[in-house]
């Protein structure tokens, strides 16, 4: 019993294959326009892919181009969007009772079920209100209850916390953590915290393809994609393992062809594709090239400077360095300036890609 999906949408350059075990929650991470919402729309039956196949607990949702295509209301896949989209003409109670009513329950038993689900999300006292009378956080809680009341076999969440203000988001995140436990769900998110707290596994979607798939912690500690490295707040250089170093391949600024010396994972053998990561806080910034203990020095040009906690983050050559405000003042860092980023070899982790 599982969920499996393969789909191609040629017009959007989308091609994804994804499988979920029962009770598993998968976070889908990725930059804007990577195809995260396309994935949910295809699973929910709102967008018809050119080709592909999806099976949910033995039922075929679609098998295209030649096979069946199940309409959204027959799938058991419920979509919870960024906006609550509560039906404005129905009371909160009738919003939550909507799915049981649609499934054929009578008005009374549907409302009873709705009360149970409202209690589950601590929103029973809102039952008599109209959606227009709710705050954003309240409305999203009701939307969660409405989605759960449909008894979904697969819950699809499209950035459910993105539209909430900072005060309401933590509460709803705790609520989702509670209700998603043991439930099969796909949650699209921008927020690494959502992935860590809510999901068992994460996939990274870039340009319509899955570029990483694994436990959230593994992806954050050992990212293979630039996007995941950015989420984890790490510098990432990909290339070819060469002894104690990595020959940079991609165009990370002026790093192409440079060897990054580091501490290789025992599994990283010379000649195979590899990844080097290091924390921005481990990067020192100098106006002149430095030598000495085994370290890497990269000549870079500053592209941006932004505050990062109590530090300043210097963007240069596709890398980041976090330096103190005092250090930045000493160097008089400004965009366009030529600098040297330096990082000790012991701070650089190298592992197979």
């Amino acid at each position: 019993m599982s969920f499996q999906l393969e789909a191609e949408v040629a017009a959007r350059g989308f091609g994804v294959s994804l499988a979920l075990a029962p009770g598993e929650t998968v976070a889908v991470l990725g930059p804007n326009g990577a195809g995260k919402s396309t994935l949910l729309s295809v699973a929910a039956g709102l967008l018809r892919p050119d080709a592909g196949r999806a099976v949910l607990d033995g039922r075929t949702l679609f098998d295209l181009p030649a096979g069946p295509w199940l309409a959204p209301h027959l799938r058991g896949t419920v979509l919870l969007a960024q906006e609550p989209l509560l039906f404005p003409h129905l009371s909160v109670l009738d919003n939550v009772a909507f799915a049981p009513r649609s499934a054929g329950a009578g008005r009374r038993s549907a409302r009873e079920a709705a009360r149970r689900w409202l209690a589950e999300v601590d929103a029973l006292e809102l039952a008599g209100r109209r959606p227009a009378e709710l705050s954003g956080g309240q409305a999203q809680r009701v939307a969660v209850a409405r989605a759960l009341a449909a008894d979904p076999q697969l819950l699809l969440l499209d950035e459910p916390l993105a539209a909430l203000d900072v005060a309401a988001a933590p509460m709803l995140r705790r609520l989702l953590k509670r209700v998603l436990a043991g439930r099969r769900a796909v949650i699209v998110t921008h927020d690494v915290l959502d992935a860590l707290m809510l999901a068992d596994r994460a996939v990274v979607l870039e340009d319509g393809r899955i570029t990483e798939d694994g436990p959230v912690r593994r992806i954050l500690e050992r990212p293979r994609s630039r996007f995941a490295a950015g989420l984890a707040g790490l510098n990432l250089v990909s290339g070819t393992v060469a002894g104690d170093g990595l020959l940079a391949a991609d165009g990370a600024g002026g790093l192409t062809g440079t060897t990054v010396t580091g501490t290789p994972d025992p599994a990283a053998a010379t000649g195979q594709p590899g990844i080097a990561v290091f924390r921005p806080a481990e990067v020192s910034v100098f106006a002149e090239p430095v030598h000495g203990s085994p370290r890497n020095t990269f000549a870079v040009t500053v592209s941006d400077v932004e505050p990062q906690g109590s530090h300043l983050r210097v963007h240069a050559g596709g890398l980041y360095a976090d330096i103190t405000v005092a250090a930045a003042a000493d160097l008089d860092v400004a965009p366009g300036m030529a600098l040297y980023f330096s990082v000790k070899a012991t701070a650089v982790e190298i592992y197979p890609a």
């Binding site: 209301h73 419920v78 039906f87 003409h89 909507f98 227009a132 989605a147 449909a150």
Partner: protein
């Protein structure tokens, strides 16, 4: 929709005031053509109102012929409005929510009566439902004769009024978008349930304003009715036809009845703009 919370309304109000205050101003000379524009509409109405014989007003508008015509007008306009809603709503749904080849052409053709001279519509109807018409011959065999009957009045009014409903409702459907419908479908609602429990309640303000517009257009119908239904007192002689006839024999009666139609039209405009139009806009904006 229903009055929203203070938030959205207050915001809308502020926005309106701001744009008024922040307007860079119009050139002064534009006031002259603008005044002429307003006069072009208001002056004839005022001129007509000035000619009303007020002492005779009540007897004139309550004469048997007038009351018969008014009653017929209200009954037929109500019937054709119902027909417009029953047939026009599905048409608007199909135009707004589906895509098929030839849709643009179909939309253009359905809206044709908006710009067609009504007398042409009457002739078209005559060649459809008249004795020698496309369907008329078959209907005649079945013993049904439509031309020059009250049914013909209703059909003529429906023909000219339907596009108003379709246009306004399609616009409402498009601005409302289909996100609520998508959510309802993933919650397990069959297409019919989505239509009756989500789509129709959401577009109700737009439907109401479309119906009011259709009613007003049906009430004022003249050309198609005269061509297709004729002018039989009590059967097909609606108020506009009665006014046209009276103009020859009793100008005072014609003016008095005209004023009645102006009053009805004013009520319709007031109702549709004050309630349903702002309601539809609010609903769409939300």
């Amino acid at each position: 929709m229903r009055p929203a919370s203070a938030g959205p309304d207050g915001r809308a109000g502020r926005r309106r005031r701001q744009s008024a205050a922040g307007s860079p101003g119009l050139p002064r000379w534009i006031l002259l053509p603008a005044a002429l524009g307003f006069l072009a509409v208001l002056l004839p109405l005022a001129a007509m109102a000035a000619r009303v014989n007020w002492s005779e007003f009540l007897p004139l508008v309550t004469s048997p012929a007038s009351l018969t015509a008014l009653g017929l007008s209200l009954r037929t306009a109500a019937a054709s409005t119902l027909l417009c809603v029953v047939l026009g709503t599905p048409a608007a749904l199909v135009l707004a929510r589906t895509r098929f080849p030839g849709q643009q052409l179909l939309r253009a053709l359905v809206l044709l009566p908006l710009v067609l001279p009504p007398v042409v519509g009457g002739i078209a109807l005559l060649y459809t439902f008249g004795r020698r018409g496309l369907l008329g011959q078959t209907l005649e065999v079945l013993g049904i004769q439509i031309a020059f009957s009250t049914t013909a009045v209703v059909l003529a009014q429906t023909f000219v009024a339907m596009p108003f409903l379709v246009v306004s409702l399609e616009g409402t459907l498009r601005t409302a978008g289909n996100r609520y419908e998508a959510v309802a479908a993933t919650l397990g609602a069959r297409p019919t349930t989505v239509l009756t429990r989500v789509t129709l309640p959401l577009i109700l303000p737009g439907l109401a304003s479309g119906a009011v517009l259709s009613f007003a257009r049906a009430l004022g119908e003249f050309g198609a009715t005269l061509t297709f239904a004729g002018s039989l007192e009590g059967v097909t002689r609606t108020l506009p036809l009665e006014i046209y006839l009276q103009r020859e024999t009793d100008p005072d009666a014609a003016v008095a009845l005209s004023l009645v139609l102006v009053a009805v039209a004013a009520v319709v405009v007031a109702v549709s703009y004050r309630k349903t139009f702002t309601g539809a806009l609010d609903a769409a904006a939300r």
